[in-house]
Symmetry: D2
Subunit: 345 residues, 4 copies
C-alpha cells in the first residue's frame, strides 16, 4: 500500500512518517510539499539520517490518485479545504488531520476558525474519526476527519459519563493543559524557549476552536448538552495533553460506580487504559504511545466528579489516531504499527 | 530589629533569608536549626558565598525571646505546634509559615493533616495573614499564621467575586497548578528530575490539605459557601502557581462589570495587579516578586466566569507575604523590602 | 529464548524491559528483585499498565540458570560482583550493565570505584562489549561487560582518530554532558527537580570512574595513550549524552580528510551515523534510539580537531547496546529489536 | 541622572531596565525605539504592569544628547555602528552592549561578524569594559564597549592564569555552554521550545564571533597567546553561562597554588567569587546576580588545569556588567544597584 503525507515537515507529519515507515502494510511513503520540491527530507529532520532517503515532491492534484492509496493531510488550516476539491476522491482515501472537516456546521466553523469553511459536500462526507466511538462509520469511511488533540482527550474522558447520563449537562468544565509541540513547528515569539520555559500560560480564554468540536461530539451522545466551559494552558514541556474534567453528578454516585461505567465502556478499547481508583495518569506515562489514560474520582463533599484524561498530543492526539483510523478504514488490526511502549522516563 | 528563622535550610526559609537580609529594618538574622548546629549556612546554599557568614545555631526555646524580636517559622508541619508552647510569646512576635495554625477547627485540621492539632489557645490567638484581606487584624497580630501558597492565589482570585455575591456558592471549582519548589527541598522520588521533567501530574485528588483553608476563608466572606472543588497539578517548573477558577455567575454579568468589581476591590493593594480585559497573567510575569496577578473573563455562552490568579509560590505564596505581614505587624510600609521587579525571562 | 533482568526497577532495567519484550527472539522476560518479591512491576512503572503483567520475583542464584538463557544485570555497583560467583555460569550467558566487570586491573577498579573489585577470574573472562569495536570477541562471549554511557560516546568518538594515529596521544580532552537519568532512579537532593532545572553543573571533577574505562579502551588501540582529561556536566534534561572531544592533530590534516577516516571506520556500523561536514548532531536526534551520531571539524587556526559524539544514555549508553550485544552473542541480526526511529521532537 | 536605552524591547535591554529603574542615581530612564514609537513598554513586557509607565519613543539622534547623560545601546549588531556617528558624543557617555566596538582590528571584525566594521575612530576611542580588568581606563571612558557574555566568563576564568604565566599559551581550550536567552528575543526555529527542550546542541563550531574578542583580551595579557579553541553549546535553560576551561600547566603546579593565584588576583573584586578547592559553581548559583563564580582544579595525572567560570548571561554577561561599568564611569560605588542575592532555586 502506498501512502502520501501532505505537510510532512510539520511535527504531526513527521510523527506520521515515523509510524507509517514502520507500518507492516505500508510499502511506500510519499512526502508532498507546496514549496520545497526536491529537498531531502533528512535536511528538515537530521534525526532521520540513515533512515530517510525521501525527497519532498510537489503536490500534483491531478496525479496524486495514481500515486497513493491513502493520503494523510497534516497541513495547516485551510489546505484541506483548498486541495481536496482538486483531487479525484473516488480513487483514494483521505485522512485529514487539520480542523477543516471537523465541524458539520459551516457557520460554526467560520465563527470559531475565522476563515472560510470547506465545501459542504466534502464536509458532509467526512467521517469524524474518534476511533473508539465511531468504529462502524470509520471502517467504511473514504474521507476521514481526524479529531483535534484536545477533543480526543476531552471526549474520551467524558464519553462514558455522558452516554450513560451520569452528569449534569450544563455543568461540564474542562481545564486542559498541553505541551508546546501542539502549536506546530512554526517559529514565533509565543513558542520561544525563553518565554515558555519555567512559565505557565493560559491562552485563547473562552475562544479555542476546539470548543465547538467537543460540543458537537458530546451533543451527539446527549442532545441536552450544548455549551461547555473549556480552557487551555501551555505547559513547559514538548509533548502531552492532560484534560482535567469537572462535572456535577446526577443522582447518587460513588467512585466505584463511576469506575465501573468507564471500565465497561472501554472494555474492548486497547488504547484506552482506565486506571484503578486512587491512581491518576501523568502525561509521561503515555509518552510516544497511542494510549489515552483515564483516572477518576467522585467527591462526596461536593457531589462532583473529576476525570483526568491524558494523551500524547502528537500520537493519540494526531498521528497515532490517524494511523489507528487508517487501520480500521483498510480492515487491518486496529493496533497495527501502534504497539509502542510509552518511553519512560 | 533582630529576626530569627526556624527552618532556614528549606526553600521557604532561604527565600526569607534573601528578603530579610536586604530589609531596611532588619539588623540581624539568626538561623535556627534542630540538627545542624554550627554548620555554615553557605554550605547548604553555595549561592550565598560572600553574602552569608551566618552559622546555624541550635534552638533554645528558653532564650529565643531575648535573641529576636520576630520569629519566622518556615519549618515542616508539626514544628510550630511543638515549639511555640515552649516560647515566651509575650516577648516576641511570631510568623508561622507552616499550616499548623491556619485551621481554627482542630478536628478539621486533624482530618486533613492527619496529625495532632496545635494547642487550641495558640491557634485561637493566631491571625490569618492574607495581607490584602485582613489588614487591621494583621497590624495588631502577635502570632500570625501565614497562608498556604494555593490558598493565597485562590482566595485573592475569589475574594472580590465572593464578597460582592457575584457567584453561585456551590459552583466554585479551582484547578490549581504549581511548580516543584512548593514541595520543599526534601529528596524523594516524587521530586526526582527525571520523573517531573517533560511530565504533568495531578496529585492529592480531592484530598489536598489546602481545601479546608480555602473554604474557611471563603466562608468568612459568605457563609453560604461550604464545600469547593480544588485539584492540584504538578508542572515541570521550579516556581509559580496558577489557579484557574471557575464559577457560575449569579444573575446578569459581563466581563467589564466583573473587571470593575476586581479593580475596585484591589484599588489600594499594591501587590495585586488586575489585568485589563483580554489579558491573562502567566506565572513568569510574577517570578521572584510578591505580586499576585489576576485576569478574568465572563463567558456568555455558559454564564460562567473564569478567573486566573498567579503568584510566585515562594514569594507571595510564602516568604514574600510573610515579610509583607511582618511590615504590617511592625508599622512599616507594607511594601518595604518587597519592591522587586519580577525577573524576566 | 528466556531472559532475566536483575535491577528491572531502575531506569536502565526498565529500558531493557521495553526492548526485550518487543524483541522477536525473546519469549519470556523474568524480573528479579532483591527486596520486592511479589510486587507487580506495573506498580513501579504505571506507564506499563496493560502492557506488563509481570511480578517481581526473588533472585534464587541456585535456580536462575534453569529459568533464563541470558541474564541482564542492571543492578547497582557491587551486585554483579556479589551475585555472579553464586550462579552456574556454564549454563547461561550474562550481560552486566554495571561497572563491576569493566576494568581488568582490580587495583584500578578499587582506586576509582572505592569498593572491592569482583573476582578476578570473572573479570578476566568478561568481554568488553563496545559493539562496534569488539565484534568477534562479543560474538563468542559468555560473560559480557556492557560499557558505561560516557565511555560509549567517548570511545566511539575517538576510535577512528586513535586507531589511525591521527592525534597527539597526550592531548585528548573530553568535555562530557549528560541528562539526569544517568544517575538512576534513586531519590537524592542531587537529582531534585528544583536543583537541576534551569541549572548546569560540573561534577566529579577529575574523579569520574569512567576515566580509567576510557583510558583502558584507548590504550588498547594505541599504547602511547595513558592519561586523558575527562570532565562531566549535568544538563537539565532527562536523556542524552554529548561528548565534545578535543585533540591536537598529528601532522597535516583537514576536515575532509578527518571525515573520510571516520566514514571508512564506521562504514559497516549501522548504529554509528557520521554526519556530513558542517553538520553536528544534537542529543535529541538520537532520542530513544540506539544510534551514536558523530560530527567533526578540524580547525586550521589551532591545529586541533573537535569531535562531537551523542547518544541516548539509556539506549546506546546502556540497554540498547546491551541488546545489540545480546544479538551478537546469540547469532541474531545486530539490529534486531533495535530498529527504532528517534522520537522527535 | 537621566539614562536612555536603545533596544529596550530585547532581553538585554529589559534587564537594563530592571536594574536602572532601581538604581539610586538614575532619575529617568528613556526607552528608545526605531519602529514602535508610542507603544507602552508594558505591552512588550506585561510583567512590568504597575511598574513601568514608559512609552517607547523614536530615536532622534540630533536631540538625544539633551535628553540623556548616559546612553545604553542594547541593540542588534550594526546599530551602534550606524547610530553613534550621528550623535554628539561630546555631551553624553555611551555604553554599547553590542559587539560593534569590541574588536580593535576592523578586518578581524569583518571576517568574524561578516558585516562592515564601525568607524575606526569610534572603535579606537571605545574602552573595553571588562570591569575587573580595566578599572582605570573604564573610570575615564566616555565610550565603553561592554564585553560579550562568553568573553566575560572566559576571560575572567583565564586572567589570573594567563597574567601569571601559569599555562601553556597554545593549549587553551574553552568549552562554553549557554542558556537560550543569549540568543535574544527574536523568534526563530532555532529557539523554538520544542527544538531546545530536552536537547543539547553545539553550534557555530570554530566560528563563533566571540573567539577573536577572547583572543584579543588574552593577547593583551600575554602576547604569546594567539589562537585558542572555543566551542559553544546551547543548553535547555533560559539563563546562565558556564565556561569549562582547559589548559596545560607550565612547570610544577598544584590545585592549592593555582587557587592562591586566583584568590590574590580577585582579592578586591566583589563580583568574582573564587570557590574553595573541591567546590565548583553551578549556573543557578549566580542566577539573576552580577557574580562570576570560579572553581578550579589541577590534575596531576595529566598536568592540566580545569577552570570553571559561571555567570548569568543577562547580568554579568550583559546588563549587570554594563551597570557596573556605568558606576565606574560616573564615580559611583562599583556595586551600586547591583547588590542582588542570586535567586535560588
Amino acid at each position: 500500500m502506498n501512502v502520501g503525507i501532505i505537510g510532512a515537515t510539520g511535527y504531526g507529519g513527521n510523527e506520521l512518517y515515523r509510524l507509517l515507515t514502520k507500518h507492516p502494510k505500508v510499502e511506500k511513503c510519499i512526502l508532498y510539499t507546496s514549496s520545497e520540491d526536491g529537498k531531502a527530507y533528512r535536511e528538515s529532520y537530521p534525526h532521520l539520517t540513515g533512515i530517510s532517503d525521501e525527497f519532498l515532491v510537489s503536490i500534483d492534484s491531478a496525479s496524486i490518485d495514481k500515486e497513493v492509496d491513502v493520503l494523510f493531510m497534516a497541513s495547516p488550516p485551510g489546505a484541506a479545504a483548498e486541495i481536496l476539491p482538486q483531487i479525484n476522491l473516488d480513487q483514494i482515501k483521505v485522512i485529514d488531520l487539520s480542523g477543516d472537516l471537523r465541524l458539520k456546521d459551516s457557520a460554526l466553523y467560520e465563527k470559531w476558525y475565522k476563515r472560510k469553511a470547506a465545501d459542504q459536500k466534502i464536509v458532509d462526507s467526512a467521517v469524524y474519526g474518534l476511533s473508539e466511538l465511531n468504529k462502524p462509520s470509520i471502517m467504511n469511511a473514504s474521507i476521514l476527519s481526524n479529531p483535534g488533540c484536545f477533543p480526543t482527550a476531552s471526549i474520551l474522558g467524558l464519553a462514558p459519563a455522558v452516554s450513560n447520563d451520569l452528569i449534569n449537562e450544563s455543568s461540564i468544565i474542562i481545564d486542559a493543559k498541553t505541551g508546546v509541540s501542539g502549536a506546530g513547528r512554526k517559529a514565533g515569539i509565543g513558542v520561544h524557549y525563553s518565554e515558555i520555559n519555567e512559565n505557565l500560560k493560559i491562552y485563547k480564554v473562552n475562544g479555542h476552536q476546539h470548543i465547538p468540536e467537543i460540543e458537537q461530539a458530546l451533543h451527539l451522545m446527549n442532545e441536552n448538552i450544548s455549551a461547555i466551559t473549556f480552557q487551555t494552558h501551555l505547559v513547559p514541556m514538548t509533548r502531552g495533553i492532560m484534560a482535567t474534567i469537572y462535572a456535577d453528578a446526577k443522582g447518587e454516585m460513588s467512585s466505584e460506580e463511576l469506575l465501573a461505567y468507564y471500565q465497561a465502556f472501554y472494555r474492548d478499547s486497547y488504547f484506552v487504559r482506565v486506571r484503578p481508583l486512587g491512581e491518576f495518569p501523568s502525561t509521561k506515562e503515555v509518552y510516544g504511545s497511542n494510549f489515552c489514560d483515564i483516572g477518576l474520582s467522585y467527591d462526596e463533599r461536593t457531589g462532583r466528579v473529576t476525570i483526568v484524561s491524558v494523551i500524547d498530543n502528537l500520537m493519540k492526539g494526531a498521528a497515532g489516531q490517524a494511523v489507528q483510523n487508517f487501520n480500521m478504514m483498510n480492515g487491518f488490526e486496529e493496533t497495527m504499527g501502534l504497539e509502542i511502549t510509552p518511553q519512560y522516563p
